[in-house]
Point group: C2
Chain length 122, copies 2
DNA sequence: TTCATATATTCGAATATACGGATATAATAT
DNA sequence: ATATTATATCCGTATATTCGAATATATGAA
């Protein structure tokens, strides 16, 4: 497979990764700010292994970046480098707007973020 | 599931449908013009049942529209009605650019279209 | 009616994906 | 060293998706 083939397969895998409810909810939360796994876990109200597994998929495709800070690992949305990647961001932005589920995610996230928990390494 | 849930599931299904090589190749061909199944079949160089099956998926999600003309059925790209659907079109446009496979699809399509075959119903 | 062409659907098999619970790893604090 | 917290990975199961070949349907022509 040539260079074009590889680019192609990568783009298709990226789109495929977007076509999953859990991953799309994660990406929508990351539009606003970077978040660690336990914050995402609280926002989504899903088991940790499930959140972590989806983050691994997103990371392997370059859709999120990770940054360690002590025991926390913070995930953030990737920075688009070309037109295709820009359209990926646009799709994330425009999808699930007015979705009750996404609203609840944000509500749960706010609750979690408002907890008094001090970041160890700051 | 409420109305938002249904919209959500529909959008996710649409994205999932984009995440398949065959369907993306079909949609890219339809960006330029409407095409019947046998033209798509020639362009993609894939068995008829496979092309037809993917068209059925795309039609069920409203990503393509169909129009009968005698024994031919012509498929065309859907018209976006909102921001999400516009971002779907953008993603189709921006994906697989400079892809060798898509170039070959267009070459095979040209060859097919240049064949002297008269449309029965025109 | 019969035939030919275009398209759709069915079938079983192969592969891929998503899941929760359990376990493993990694960093830090005591 | 041990305990604690955060995160990642493994495992078996369940479900979903894709495929080609074969068959069914639908239209129009002879």
């Amino acid at each position: 497979m040539n260079i074009f083939g590889r680019v192609m397969q990568r783009q298709i895998k990226m789109i495929k990764a977007l076509g999953d409810e859990t991953r799309l909810r994660i990406l929508k939360l990351l539009l606003k700010r970077e978040l660690c796994v336990c914050e995402l876990e609280a926002a989504l109200s899903l088991p940790q292994s499930r959140v972590s597994r989806h983050l691994t998929v997103l990371r392997s495709l370059g859709l999120v970046e990770d940054r360690r800070e002590g025991t926390w690992i913070f995930y953030s949305l990737f920075k688009p480098q070309n037109d295709f990647e820009k359209s990926v961001i646009q799709m994330i932005r425009n999808s699930l707007s007015d979705s009750e589920l996404v609203n609840q995610d944000e509500k749960r996230l706010k609750r979690k973020l408002s907890q008094v928990y001090v970041y160890k390494c700051k």
